[in-house]
């Protein structure tokens, strides 16, 4: 086994760096690696070799977890291209977008207070459509246009939409309980 710890997540899993990737192949490669470095197979190795293969397994796992989630994959791609999201400190979203977020939150809050499950489900499917459209835009920005600045903005927006999805799910769970 050849351990090269300088490989990035895409290289490690043999995937061309892109937002749109072959998820089946990703999983296949990941499973291949994990089966090669499974602790059971290394009973005969010395401590140093065992430690290396464990580190390799951990690295492969991190790579797989990062690449299989669309938002994490986008964030990682941006990172490789020198763009960071600064999610903790960059609070300058467009006022129109933030206004929309406020309206979404209000609509979810009202539907929840009114115990209006069908309204929540309506909001949920509307959000799903919005997220899909955003993801499509993101694919174009990252894979075709290479407009990383704009892509970073779309990823930030998607983070808010992820939060909306959580809020809708909490509300639905609370009403079902």
């Amino acid at each position: 086994m050849n351990f090269d710890f300088s490989k990035n997540h895409f290289e490690l899993l043999g995937i061309t760096p892109a937002y749109q990737i072959d998820l089946i192949r990703l999983e296949q490669t990941y499973r291949d690696i994990q089966s090669q470095v499974h602790p059971d197979k290394f009973a005969h190795l010395n401590d140093a070799e065992r430690r290396l293969s464990m580190q390799w397994s951990t690295q492969a796992n991190e790579a797989y977890q990062t690449l299989r989630h669309p938002l994490n994959r986008a964030r990682y791609l941006l990172h490789l291209n020198g763009f960071e999201l600064h999610e903790e400190t960059n609070t300058a979203m467009s006022p129109a977008f933030l206004m929309q977020q406020m309206e979404w939150r209000e609509a979810i809050g009202e539907a929840r207070a009114a115990k209006d499950t069908s309204e929540l489900e309506h909001l949920s499917s509307k959000l799903r459509a919005d997220v899909q459209a955003q993801q499509q835009q993101l694919a174009g920005l990252l894979d075709s246009d290479k407009d990383f600045e704009k892509a970073a903005q779309v990823v930030r927006e998607l983070k808010f939409m992820e939060k909306l999805r959580e809020e809708i799910n909490y509300a639905l769970e609370a009403l079902e309980a």
Partner: protein, 140 residues
């Protein structure tokens, strides 16, 4: 993770929740959001003729720390001039509320909400364009 007493106090009895009328004289609005947690915060200030913030209101969708941070700054900005309000730093907010490291971004959000509201006021009143550009650049 447990919230500090001060966070709980502001969370349970938030000060100055609400919205001013859009056409109210001297009202300016700052809207900010943190991608880390998807929280959104709206801070409004009401500025009198002497350039002093005489009232403030907020509306925040977020965790307890975000609500407490915005509630606290509505209290802090009252009676301050715009420039004095701009000196409020997130570290002061975090310290006052004893925010844990994972919640520091909530205090950043509150500081940036003040900056955004002041920038909005100055934009509406056509003052100090230079400073506005600087504020916008800080967030980039």
């Amino acid at each position: 993770m447990s919230y500090s007493t001060k966070v709980l106090d502001h969370y349970e009895n938030p000060r100055n929740v609400g919205t001013f009328g859009k056409e109210d004289e001297g009202v300016a609005t700052g809207m900010v959001g943190a991608p880390a947690c998807g929280d959104v915060m709206k801070l409004q200030i009401k500025v009198n003729k002497d350039g002093v913030i005489e009232d403030a209101k907020f509306k925040t969708y977020g965790c307890g720390s975000a609500i407490a941070s915005s509630s606290l700054v509505t209290e802090w900005v009252k009676g301050k001039t715009l420039d004095e309000a701009l000196t409020i730093k997130n570290t002061q907010i975090a310290e006052e509320l004893a925010l844990p490291p994972v919640k520091i971004h909530c205090s950043v959000l509150a500081e940036d909400a003040i900056k955004a509201a002041v920038a909005d006021y100055k934009a509406r009143h056509g003052e100090m364009q230079g400073e506005m550009v600087e504020t916008a650049a800080c967030k980039g």
